[in-house]
Symmetry: C2
Subunit: 217 residues, 2 copies
């Protein structure tokens, strides 16, 4: 009879204690599947095979769950730093790596970009790398914060438009012949095109402001 204290194998998903990290992992799985707006403390508890109220012993509220998940995903970001490559190529690589992460959890990232003003922080690897590259490119110290913010805003902006489908709509409605190689191909091109255009714009700015070349080391 004491075996009855636990339901038979297969009905009980959780035989591991509730943890903050475990809650975030489960929440991310639900978000990836159904979107942020479908995430519910009650559903999350069900997914963890727990009582809804038990979650509140590990997490203060729902907003903290969303911030925790975003933070967990954010720390997964890694990029190789090609110190001796030209800054144009380094920006392209950084942005592409960031986009790869965004594609891994599109629903969460679309939400974070628009709802979490503090999702990308100046101390984050992405921001630090971006600042370092632009510094190496020869952007004057006085303009570095603004230029970094500009490039950051453009990258997250075009990514948001891609993740929420606006980019795809604009392309497919404007020219019905688009998308022959699939929407992913179009959006690869659009991302690349946007990067190239902003890079060209920066080159122009650097050329008028100085010698247009950063200190090589």
């Amino acid at each position: 009879m004491e075996k009855a204290k636990r339901p038979p194998r297969g009905t009980r998903k959780r035989d591991v204690p509730l943890t903050e990290a475990g809650i975030y992992v489960a929440a991310l799985r639900l978000i990836d599947a159904d979107g942020v707006e479908a995430l519910t403390m009650r559903k999350l508890a069900t997914a963890l095979d727990a009582n809804p109220m038990s979650l509140y012993h590990h997490v203060p509220n729902k907003d903290a769950v969303l911030r925790g998940v975003a933070r967990m995903v954010g720390t997964q970001f890694r990029t190789v730093t090609l110190e001796d490559a030209p800054w144009q190529e380094r920006i392209r690589l950084l942005a592409t790596d960031f986009r790869t992460l965004a594609h891994r959890h599109p629903k969460l990232m679309a939400y974070s970009f628009s709802h979490q003003a503090d999702f990308i922080q100046p101390e984050d690897p992405f921001w630090a790398a971006l600042t370092a590259i632009l510094d190496a490119a020869g952007v004057p110290q006085s303009e570095l914060p603004q230029i970094t913010a500009l490039v950051g805003a453009v990258i997250t902006g075009v990514l948001t438009a891609e993740l929420n489908g606006a980019l795809h709509r604009w392309l497919s409605l404007a020219s019905p012949t688009v998308g022959e190689d699939g929407p992913i191909h179009d959006e690869n091109c659009m991302f690349r095109l946007t990067l190239d255009t902003i890079i060209t714009g920066l080159e122009g700015r650097l050329a008028t402001n100085g010698d247009g070349r950063g200190a090589d080391h």
Copy 2:
């Protein structure tokens, strides 16, 4: 006793029948004040001095209310078209006019940019004007949809970062001396800087692709 059918003046706000347009106007007022996430069918009904269920006779559901409000605000967009000004100046004016509208209803616009992939449609005045300007600038027909989407994505992207506060955070955390003339000044500069950079980038692209000047007519 028959006077009691209506509460005394001042307690009853609505003595005009419920309308679809009236619902949108009231919803916009609530959104401007408290944000989209605070809008509730029940609060909306209270603001209109109506029973919550009465709304459903004029509007199918809450999502339709949000789309209706966004559409109502979107049609307010107007810009002057300076046919004979250089395309750079025309883009700057168009983008600035659009930003002015966004500042009039920041909460709604931030929501629409990230949640309504169809908020800006290719038939809208904004999109049509943008396409016309880029066409006049000499962008080849084959690239016109992509370049328009690129400029549109960049403008809405930087606007989103401004409206949700991310831009301000990036600037103020990166350089503590920022904001001496107030955040609005900073964000004016950032918007202008982004526009100028993207325009310089387009100039570079046009220069390599052709004679770098559109047909004047």
